[in-house]
């Protein structure tokens, strides 16, 4: 093996690609070659470095210097100063407060532990980080029931929004005798403000694959599908590479590790429909239909895609499974409070200094997430509201800023953890406008199958538009709540049931914003 004195990790994600990282990387390599350094210094492509709005970024090891906002003109200086003379270019390096934020952000990671540290397109990197040990252990030393029980004991709950206990879900399907069972990953990440699954798939696709392998074995599925939204081009490419490599290494295919177990993984691509995040709609879409949700029961675990027993889990949920198998359920319950164990990836955006992500213990307070990981509210402004859980989430006011972010604590405030999106708004934000945007989103994404959702969304849209124009009345506000409540009780699937949360929380906590807009004050 070749020995390099230094490694450069370049973050390749949608953000840096937009900033021209590929051209930068090519020029950096040719500059290193020109200086005869290409044998000493290795350039590695990795997933996101966990920084946003920093354009082309890279970290140099072992020096641990992170450069941000790099331009092509900076290359000669970096090579001459840092790589030839060993003097990091402080002008371009990450400044101290940001640096702390960056290190802090890595402390407690499970699903994103490798993201930004390994090359997601090289299976050997994942193997070197201890990858696929869990798969080997599960397949050779554990019975499927043991895996289901271990995951049950870990307290892992679905990270897609609903928070259903994962082990319990598996235990419905595992005992079923069927000629074919299926395991499906829901990677149709469409909840506005959510990109945690994208970061996992871009940064560490093998982590997901390993989770899929173990989970499929646990429920007895020999075919697994990853249903991914069509917009996530880079995720699709990286997963395709990862699957191909896993076959080559004998981690997938027939008679894996001579255990007698077969497994194939396929990628299914969506075409832009939020409702396909609902598991039965996702199954319809996989079959080549419109993504209209199905009636439950029968639940997919019993009768899913092509009428076969089908377990559907979220990306983040399953990326936790390898760790649980290697280190045990007890290790996992060491993270987060009772009943909500593990970590959670939050995506933070809006009026904060450092929009981006963090993976922290379940139950971390909203204040900590915003102040420590989001870098706090933009200088000179005050917190007004946070929309937590995506569009199907809740507007939380200042009084709720200390809420612990876990399933149980949030429920006390009629709020949900949802997908873990945190949209922060300062005092300049008009909640009428934000609610308008939320309703407009649902109006567009309603699939039209049931009238409470299709008509309810339209009625809400008409009312909020009227209020926006300054023509609304008190009665319109009351009607919005009645409509949202009716939708909650009568809609066919979770999409129509979701709107009650943003509507009610906006009207309850930010009524003043609405009253200001009414015709008769």
């Amino acid at each position: 093996m070749k020995f390099y004195r230094s490694h450069i990790l370049i973050g390749i994600d949608d953000t840096s690609l937009a900033a021209g990282v590929k051209e930068f990387e090519a020029l950096l390599l040719s500059e290193l070659e020109k200086n005869k350094l290409a044998d000493e210094i290795n350039i590695l492509e990795t997933g996101t470095l966990g920084l946003f709005g920093t354009g082309v970024s890279m970290t140099v090891f072992p020096d641990q210097v992170t450069y941000v906002n790099l331009k092509i003109e900076d290359i000669p200086e970096i090579v001459a100063e840092h790589f030839l003379k060993g003097r990091p270019v402080s002008r371009l390096a990450l400044k101290a407060p940001l640096k702390k934020h960056y290190d802090f952000n890595y402390k407690n990671r499970i699903v994103l532990e490798n993201s930004g540290k390994i090359n997601p397109e090289d299976i050997n990197d994942y193997l070197a980080a201890g990858g696929y040990e869990a798969w080997e252990k599960a397949l050779l030393n554990m019975k499927p029931e043991q895996i289901v029980n271990e995951v049950k004991a870990s307290g892992l709950r679905g990270r897609g929004g609903a928070g259903f206990p994962t082990g319990l879900k598996w235990s419905f399907t595992a005992p079923i005798q069927a000629p074919q069972k299926l395991f499906v990953i829901n990677a149709d990440e469409g909840e506005p403000g959510t990109f945690k699954d994208r970061l996992i798939m871009e940064g560490d696709p093998h982590k997901l694959l390993e989770g899929v392998m173990i989970s499929s074995y646990a429920v007895g599925a020999t075919k697994a599908y990853i249903y991914i939204r069509g917009e996530y081009k880079l995720c699709i490419t990286r997963l395709e590479i990862a699957i191909k490599d896993a076959y080559e290494y004998g981690l997938l295919g027939k008679n894996i590790f001579e255990s007698g177990f077969d497994l194939d993984i396929f990628i299914k691509i969506g075409a832009g429909a939020y409702v396909c995040g609902e598991e039965t709609a996702l199954i319809e879409s996989m079959e080549g239909n419109r993504g209209n949700p199905r009636s439950k029961p029968p639940f997919p675990g019993v009768e899913g895609a092509w009428k076969l027993p089908t377990v559907v889990n979220n990306v983040e949920t399953i990326a936790n499974v390898p760790g649980i198998i290697t280190k045990g359920a007890e290790w996992f319950t060491g993270y987060g409070p009772d009943g909500c164990s593990g970590t959670k990836v939050y995506t933070i955006m809006g009026d904060v200094n450092l929009p981006g992500l963090c993976e922290v213990d379940m139950g971390t307070s909203l204040r900590t997430i915003i102040d420590e990981f989001g870098g706090g509210i933009i200088e000179g402004h005050q917190f007004k509201a946070a929309l937590v859980g995506g569009a199907a989430g809740v507007f939380l006011p200042l009084e709720r800023l200390d809420v612990n972010m876990d399933y149980n604590s949030l429920r006390e405030y009629a709020a949900v953890l949802g997908s873990g999106a945190v949209l922060v708004m300062d005092e300049r934000t008009d909640i009428v406008e934000m609610l308008y945007s939320v309703i407009r989103f649902f109006r567009h994404e309603s699939c039209g199958k049931c009238s409470p959702c299709a008509n309810g969304n339209e009625m809400l849209y008409q009312l909020i538009s009227k209020i926006r124009k300054g023509e609304g009345t008190q009665e319109d506000l009351d009607n919005m709540v009645v409509i949202a409540d009716t939708m909650f009780h009568t809609s066919f699937c979770a999409l129509g049931q979701s709107l009650v949360m943003p509507v009610k929380s906006a009207l309850e906590h930010f009524r003043a914003d609405f009253l200001k807009r009414l015709k008769i004050k």
């Binding site: 690609l17 469409g190 990109f195 994208r198 949209l423």
Partner: protein, 151 residues
């Protein structure tokens, strides 16, 4: 005329969305014509009505001809909060089109879309397969101009 694409997929309904994606991507006008629908229906042995249903359900598909470059501006709450409405006005003014329309020179179609999952850089848009973030009115000008030079 789509033998090459059909050849990659077995004639099963579950491959419909793939086939439609590939045909649309290969079409210079990025759309699925009525004629195409019938060809696909014959290949998969399903009703054309089913295919029309699927086409009009998913936002990534179009049943009318579009421009060479498809601009998809995110209008979801995080981008809305960071000024996507302003970006929309600017794009409409620069391109002299309304939402869903194609420019007279056939270079651009302006569309809105739901969250692209790049919210840390809101407001964002996609042009074809490329994502552009932290948009400002000035940035829009230079991005659009870069596509005019034959990109």
């Amino acid at each position: 005329m789509y033998e090459q694409i059909f050849g990659k997929y077995t004639p099963e309904k579950e491959n419909l969305i793939y086939i439609l994606h590939e045909i649309q991507d290969s079409d210079p006008q990025h759309y699925i014509s009525e004629e195409t629908v019938h060809l696909v229906a014959d290949y998969l042995n399903i009703q054309p009505a089913h295919i029309f249903g699927v086409l009009t359900f998913y936002t990534m598909f179009s049943t009318k001809p579009r421009g060479k470059n498809i601009i998809r501006l995110c209008e979801s709450p995080p981008c809305f909060h960071r000024g996507s409405e302003k970006m929309l006005l600017k794009l409409a003014e620069m391109l002299k089109v309304k939402i869903g329309e194609t420019t007279a020179d056939g270079l651009f179609t302006l569309e809105l879309c739901a969250c692209l999952g790049v919210c840390g850089n809101a407001p964002v848009m996609m042009i074809n397969d490329d994502v552009y973030g932290n948009l400002t009115e000035e940035k829009l000008e230079s991005i659009i101009n870069s596509y005019k030079g034959g990109k």
